[in-house]
């Protein structure tokens, strides 16, 4: 075997290390099941969609993955800068550091993810300051750049988010999350509560950002159109269990599980 082949193999091996490897993740609320025995791998640059009806455990799963909830069993191994680490067992300080550097979390309601009393620029700058930026001019320049990328005019920079429309707030939340260049973004119903034209623009924007930055993302939604547009792979959940997973188009065009068939056929075709 030649040296060139070896290096190709080594490279393949590198890329084969999943960014996020989840095994047997379980969360119970007393006797009720939040999510049970969820396992999957997420690779760099990949977007995973999680769909299912309300109460199917999507949000519980996402919270466990992002470290907001402590799971009862299972491991969530993230490929950190110092090699793969189980984020469930790591110290809270470390997990929170991860949450403001390598991870990002986009809430369904922008009010949960933004500081409503702080200007748009301050909201975007917060993560930069949280990781040690101490130069006002540079923080501001980066905030302007990011507001531009999510199509918020620079002259709205010193306005508070409460003066923004719902769509703008959501875009601001995305800018605030992506400013430190995370590698993995968790999104909980990012387009929920927005009207369809604003949704379309937001999806367009997110698709652009995900492709451009090579982000990995886990998107929880009940809107099949969102996953059709954004997700490479799809996981269907029902009653806390994963009932079907595969490539997005494959799952949506040729659903195998009865519940997936029901879900796909429930969408009104216009």
């Amino acid at each position: 075997m030649g040296a060139a082949e070896l290096s190709i193999l080594a490279k393949q091996k590198q890329t084969e290390q999943p960014l996020l490897a989840v095994r047997g993740l379980t969360k119970r609320y007393g006797r009720r099941i939040g999510c049970a025995e969820v396992s999957f791998d997420l690779f760099a640059g990949e977007v995973l969609g999680i769909v299912g009806e309300s109460g199917s455990g999507k949000s519980t799963l996402l919270s466990c993955l992002a470290g907001h909830l402590a799971p009862d069993a299972g491991t969530v191994v993230f490929d950190t800068a110092d090699g793969p680490r189980d984020t469930v067992r790591m110290a809270e300080a470390e997990r929170r550091r991860l949450a403001r550097t390598d991870w990002a979390f986009v809430h369904q309601n922008p009010r949960d993810g933004l500081r409503m009393g702080v200007s748009a620029g301050g909201n975007v700058g917060e993560r930069l300051m949280a990781v040690g930026a101490r130069h006002y001019g540079q923080i501001r320049a980066q905030a302007v750049d990011w507001l531009g990328r999510v199509e918020i005019a620079a002259d709205r920079m010193d306005d508070r988010p409460s003066a923004f429309s719902g769509g703008m707030q959501q875009r601001l939340q995305i800018a605030r999350n992506l400013v430190t260049g995370p590698r993995l973004v968790f999104m909980d119903e990012p387009t929920g509560g927005l009207d369809v034209s604003v949704q379309a623009r937001l999806l367009d924007l997110m698709r652009g950002l995900v492709r451009e930055m090579g982000l990995s993302a886990i998107i929880v939604t009940h809107d099949l159109a969102v996953v059709r547009l954004l997700a490479d792979r799809l996981m269907v959940m029902q009653g806390g269990q994963v009932v079907e997973q595969g490539l997005t188009d494959q799952v949506l065009d040729d659903p195998q599980h009865a519940y997936t068939q029901l879900l796909v056929s429930s969408v009104l075709q216009v």
Binding site: A93, G125, E126, H135, Y136
Partner: protein, 292 residues
């Protein structure tokens, strides 16, 4: 008769013991807010119930107490607290900064440098510097624990974005020994440099919020800032009109309804000391002649 009804320095001995334990813990962990079981005091919250409890726990009969309010020895808050301890502890009192062994203060640090062996007790309304940015106490405690202080700079960022400069002029946040971010109580930011490396022990008491924190002598205290907007301990660009001091913190006093005003030292003891030494400001007359 009534004087005999009080324990020395008002508080019972068990309460003093509890407060002293909190103070010792605060001294051991500079800048950390130690919870304590704050008692009801015979004064309203906001009038220095925390400071009074800390002072009461520190007082011994040999002490000489000075109480200042906004730099002055003769304003309501200062007079009432001084009288309170005269009556309940029978300690000697003074207005001279250098002669005092314990100084309870509200909103100022004396201009005269403190010396070793002195205790400076601050009255603190809100001990949590992150309070107005993050209202959840559980979350702010977590942020202190994990040293997540990025949010403090968001406040300063907002100042600059709105006013072009860091407009926070009092209760300016500081970092203690490179670890805890601390609210220095509502002292003007002009006084912030005096917090650092002080030979005196500095104790902070917040009665309503039930917190005590401390700066042991010679503790390093740094005011937060940005690289391109450094900390500026500003004061009114004026000299004291009574004593001519150029480097003391000034009060602006309106003296008539024609827009007339004068600037005087906020630290009355410092100002009187200078005038007794013969310094005269622009509107002042020598003290010997007995005039303003």
């Amino acid at each position: 008769m009534t004087d005999q009804a009080y324990n020395f320095a008002y508080l019972d001995e068990q309460t003093k013991r509890m407060i002293r334990r909190a103070i010792l813990k605060g001294v051991a962990v500079p800048g950390y807010q130690v919870p304590f079981a704050s008692r009801e005091m015979p004064m309203p919250y906001g009038w220095g119930t925390g400071g009074v409890q800390v002072t009461a726990a520190c007082l011994v009969p040999e002490d000489r107490l000075k109480v200042i309010d906004q730099g002055a020895d003769d304003t309501t808050n200062a007079v009432s607290i001084r009288k309170f301890f005269q009556r309940t502890a029978g300690v000697a009192v003074t207005e001279a900064t250098t002669a005092a062994s314990i100084i309870q203060t509200r909103h100022r640090i004396p201009e005269t440098p403190l010396h070793e062996g002195q205790i400076l007790v601050y009255q603190v309304p809100i001990p949590e510097p992150l309070r107005f940015l993050e209202p959840r106490e559980t979350e702010t405690r977590k942020m202190h624990e994990l040293e997540e202080y990025g949010l403090m700079h968001v406040k300063l960022y907002e100042d600059i974005a709105r006013h072009g400069t860091i407009a926070t002029s009092y209760a300016y946040p500081v970092k203690v020994e490179g670890r805890y971010v601390m609210d220095p109580s509502p002292i003007p930011k002009f006084d912030n440099p005096k917090l650092s490396d002080s030979p005196a022990l500095q104790l902070f008491g917040a009665g309503r919020e039930q917190r005590i924190y401390a700066l042991p002598p010679y503790t390093q205290v740094v005011s937060l800032d940005f690289d391109d907007h450094p900390f500026d301990p500003s004061k009114a660009a004026h000299d004291c009109d009574l004593c001519g001091a150029a480097a003391s913190y000034l009060d602006e006093v309106i003296i008539d309804d024609q827009g007339g005003r004068m600037f005087v030292c906020s630290d009355t003891d410092f100002c009187r000391g200078r005038r007794e030494a013969g310094h005269v400001g622009a509107l002042g007359v020598p003290l010997a002649e007995g005039g303003m």
